[in-house]
Symmetry: C2
Subunit: 198 residues, 2 copies
DNA sequence: GTCTATACCTGGATAGAC
DNA sequence: GTCTATCCAGGTATAGAC
């Protein structure tokens, strides 16, 4: 962690950036260490100095991005009070992050992580999704959300947004994706809102 | 196409079945031709007799499954009259197909096809999804569905279902997935139904 | 049409100089 | 810490017998 940061950007970060670019556009398996070496403009030796192998590199990148997402969701939960406000802010974050950082979103949401990181839990049962699941679960308890299965409620609320983001990341939908936010949110919330809420 | 089918199951089919099993569980890149050879209990020579290369094999499997899906959706469209009935039947098909044929569903919906079939269109812009898109679009024109962006309407209606199916295929949700159908459908339709419809 | 044996090469990882 | 050169396994695809 305490690598020198003298003037030039540190190499570790350089490598991670190149990796993100290539993994998100070409995929893990279509990206060789040699490709990363070229893109990052470092030597193979440096890559293996900072990361023990290709999988570790993928994993480090994944963990950083998941962490970033978790921090954002946690912040939202602290700032907002009701389930509705929290979910709305979380969905907005997904949209704005997609526009500002499509590669990160692509890598985190789209890649089949288990195919190259056997030990990692599927993204849908990882921490960010668990947080969202909890928020929705509380909404059910409070009566803000209709009494349906919590998994169904969560997927029904966010499924549309995620699907739309996939469509965009695929190139099947023109961006910026934020312009679809309001409508998507309205649909999602309508799907699960308790009768009193709308 | 006109391969002999004398008594024993033809080898082409044997190979496709083995491929489906391995690709859906291990992924395209983690499955070698040798693995397929072993699983299908044929020789490498046979595989290359029926398929020019690994990518062609993946593609043939993909095309067959997409075709099956398209036929099912087409049948639904013929049988049902309203947008609501059609969408409900299509969603039901997704759920029941997931239960009866999880490997096919996994391969068709989950794999990052573009990573190994560069020329294939992303699944969300492929024919089955286009059919669904059309059905929803007509629903908007007929006033059955609220006047929102058609892409938003389609993803809002089916996003929850697809997400839930992913969750199940990931092993994050216990099956059979059909038990979640009714609730998921209600949420999905509620998301986009015109005011008069419910 | 089916098989085995093998050619060939990509690409992950290491060695070791600086 | 950074680099280049190199090793070597694994995997796709082919050759050619039967």
């Amino acid at each position: 962690m305490e690598t020198a940061r003298v003037g030039t950007v540190d190499k570790r970060e350089q490598i991670l950036q190149a990796t993100l670019k290539l993994f998100s556009s070409e995929g893990f398996f279509n990206t060789s260490i040699h490709d990363i070496r070229r893109e990052a403009d470092v030597s193979i030796g440096s890559i293996y100095h900072y990361f023990t192998n290709k999988e570790t590199l993928a994993r480090a990148l994944y963990d950083e991005l998941v962490d970033e997402m978790v921090r954002a969701i946690r912040a939202v939960i602290l700032e907002q009070d009701t389930c509705q406000e929290r979910c709305r802010a979380i969905m907005r974050f997904f949209f704005s992050w997609t526009d500002s950082n499509p590669q990160s979103m692509h890598y985190i949401m789209y890649a089949r992580h288990q195919e190259f990181m056997p030990e990692v839990k599927p993204i849908c049962s990882s921490e960010p999704f668990f947080l969202v699941f909890q928020v929705v679960g509380e909404g059910i308890e409070q009566g803000e959300v209709r009494a349906v299965n919590p998994a169904v409620a969560t997927t029904s609320l966010f499924g549309g947004a995620i699907r739309l983001i996939h469509l965009y990341l695929d190139g099947s939908l023109e961006g910026p994706v934020e312009k679809y936010f309001e409508e998507t949110w309205q649909c999602g919330w309508r799907a699960i809102a308790a009768a009193t809420s709308h």
